[in-house]
């Protein structure tokens, strides 16, 4: 399904993104995100204050001169807001399409923090979050996997775990998912053990996921600008020619609908969860390194 809209006399070919793994999708007449053919991602401004908060964050962040350049790369580039016809004229946040440089991306969305609620939220929201946090690995591990999609190199197609299944996983399930995410063998087959074939090219190396997460962690140990409540870390890597060209793994922070001012305090909630996630990734990298040594 595609939309051709005229905006400022420029025809934009908009369609639903292909690899959305978490968050809102276009359903039941409600607008979902869209992408164009020029590397841009259009996110509908959510009702209540969330859309406003996200725009306010992007405006603040893009003009914040105290953000070091090497940290800015972990955030989607912001292109302002735009009214898009065909979506009820609703305003949309225009962002960099993080997947436009990838032809066969595996993507994982990890919600960071041992709590997704925050003091400024409504009581109703806090209760809703508490329930979800307790049911998932958020409380126990400091993060939860919101969704992922991975390319199966044997079946030559993308595989996505069942959403309900993912919501009920515990610590072991998280480890398994993180292994599957970097495996090449048949993923839909639950009896075969994930081969973690791409663990070192995706998680390891001087430009791998672990190095990037560690760089982010250092920033989080000191930054008091923002509290990234309920934000996710997106992990993306390329499957096309992975053996010849490498994985081009990238870490990006996304979803800023609940970001608040830091007020001189570090984001200890995000930092704790990030450190825990780093340990999980490191463990998998080490055990896959060990098995290749054997």
């Amino acid at each position: 399904m595609g939309l051709v809209v005229s905006s400022y006399s420029v025809k934009m070919h908009l369609k639903a993104p292909e690899h959305q793994v978490a968050g809102h999708i276009a359903k039941d007449g409600k607008p979902g995100p869209l992408v164009d053919d020029k590397g841009r991602f259009f996110k509908p401004l959510q009702g209540d204050s969330r859309g406003e908060i996200e725009v306010k964050f992007y405006e603040s962040f893009s003009s914040n001169t105290e953000i070091p350049d090497h940290i800015r790369r972990y955030f989607p580039v912001y292109h302002g807001t735009q009214a898009v016809e065909g979506s009820d004229g609703a305003a949309m946040i225009v962002l960099e399409n993080l997947l436009s440089q990838y032809s066969k991306p595996s993507v994982m969305d990890v919600k960071m923090g041992s709590r997704t609620w925050y003091p400024e939220a409504s009581e109703e929201y806090i209760q809703k979050c508490l329930r979800k946090d307790a049911r998932s690995t958020t409380v126990s591990s400091g993060f939860r996997i919101s969704g992922f999609e991975v390319y199966d190199h044997k079946e030559l197609s993308f595989w996505k775990p069942d959403r309900k299944l993912l919501n009920g996983i515990k610590v072991d399930g998280v480890r398994l998912a993180l292994r599957k995410f970097v495996s090449s063998n048949t993923l839909s087959d639950t009896s075969s053990k994930p081969d973690s074939a791409f663990a070192s090219s995706v998680y390891g190396g001087s430009n791998g996921v672990l190095t990037q997460l560690l760089e982010l962690k250092t920033w989080f140990e000191n930054q008091t600008f923002y509290h990234f409540n309920s934000c996710s870390i997106l992990i993306i890597y390329e499957n096309e020619s992975i053996h010849d060209d490498g994985a081009r793994a990238q870490v990006k922070l996304v979803d800023f609908a609940h970001v608040h001012d830091g007020n001189g305090v570090i984001d200890h909630n995000f930092l704790g969860g990030l450190c825990s996630f780093i340990n999980f990734v490191r463990d998998i990298l080490q055990s896959s390194d060990e098995s290749t040594d054997n």
């Binding site: 041992s114 709590r115 003091p119 307790a134 409380v139 126990s140 591990s141 400091g142 610590v171 140990e221 000191n222 008091t224 007020n263 001189g264 305090v265 570090i266 200890h268 909630n269 930092l271 704790g272 969860g273 450190c275 825990s276 340990n279 463990d283």
Partner: protein, 286 residues
């Protein structure tokens, strides 16, 4: 002869016929094993920790030495009760300033009773636990102007918001009057918080361990900070950090204690900020 400790700032106090810890004159602290599972859990932690080969020596120094369990005459007159025998961490100090800081953005943990969860979360939200990742549980600071100890009321301490916590941490290392509203001078910040053996260095050492240790989850534990005020002699402050209160410690089960780690990092930032602003003042000749 056992007596009530002079410098206890938080937890149950053995006073007015209540059950609480006692000290002897040989540097030992006797903590009664509470009736419920907590005392048992704490003793179990100490047993496990003292024999755990995976704990590096330099980290072991941040924990009170454990001397097993002994039957001792209880402070409430109820006869001989089992008590955990621990190192009294303030016994080598003559006039110690002491502060107890509960670390973590939550004091509850998975699988507790609904009653306990509700009690904890209510307190966590009312104090700085949720917002800062730690809360000041108690403090007793030597006030050189008054030549005595300043100990704010527990209710005042629990009502601290971010500014209150910051002020308490500044007062902890100040030489001017503590009881009034005068701006704390942070005169001892570099001796107590700073330096190669100061509080900040010790906290950073602990932080490095917490980045990867998956042995224990230190739910509801406190960092105790102590330093000497007695002048004369070599005038060494001897600032010390100790971890205390292990009634709610659980196995790490392969996951780091992200709750404690996050709170500890936030606490470290507060100390760093105070150190930096007091250093700047010294440079400007204030």
């Amino acid at each position: 002869m056992l007596k009530v400790p002079e410098h206890q700032v938080a937890g149950h106090i053995a006073k007015d016929g209540k059950l609480g810890p006692l000290v002897d004159n040989q540097g030992r602290f006797y903590k009664p094993l509470q009736g419920d599972a907590r005392g048992e859990n704490e003793a179990k932690f100490y047993e496990s920790f003292s024999s755990n080969k995976n704990v590096p020596d330099h980290i072991r120094g941040y924990f009170p030495v454990y001397h097993g369990v002994q039957l001792v005459e209880a402070s409430d007159g109820s006869g001989k009760l089992p008590h955990m025998v621990l190192e009294d961490v303030v016994s080598s100090y003559v006039k110690p300033s002491v502060m107890d800081v509960k670390i973590g953005s939550r004091t509850w943990y998975p699988d507790v009773s609904e009653e306990y969860f509700n009690k904890c979360i209510k307190k966590d939200r009312a104090t700085t636990t949720v917002s800062l990742g730690f809360r000041v549980s108690g403090l007793k600071i030597f006030d050189c102007q008054e030549s005595g100890f300043w100990r704010p009321d527990k209710r005042v301490v629990l009502a601290y918001k971010a500014d209150g916590a910051r002020t308490a941490l500044r007062k902890f290392v100040s030489s001017n009057s503590l009881a009034d509203d005068s701006v704390p001078d942070c005169a001892y910040a570099s001796e107590v918080y700073g330096g190669s053996n100061g509080i900040l260095m010790q906290l950073l050492e602990l932080k490095a361990w917490f980045e990867t240790q998956t042995l224990y989850h230190f739910n509801s534990c406190s960092v105790l900070m102590v330093y000497e005020n007695e002048s004369g002699g070599d005038e060494e402050r001897r600032p010390q950090v100790k971890l205390v209160d292990f009634a709610h410690v659980l196995d790490g089960n392969g996951v780091i204690d992200h709750n404690f780690f996050g709170g500890l990092c936030s606490f470290i930032k507060f100390i760093q900020d105070i150190l930096e602003s007091s250093d700047n003042r010294c440079e400007n000749g204030h």
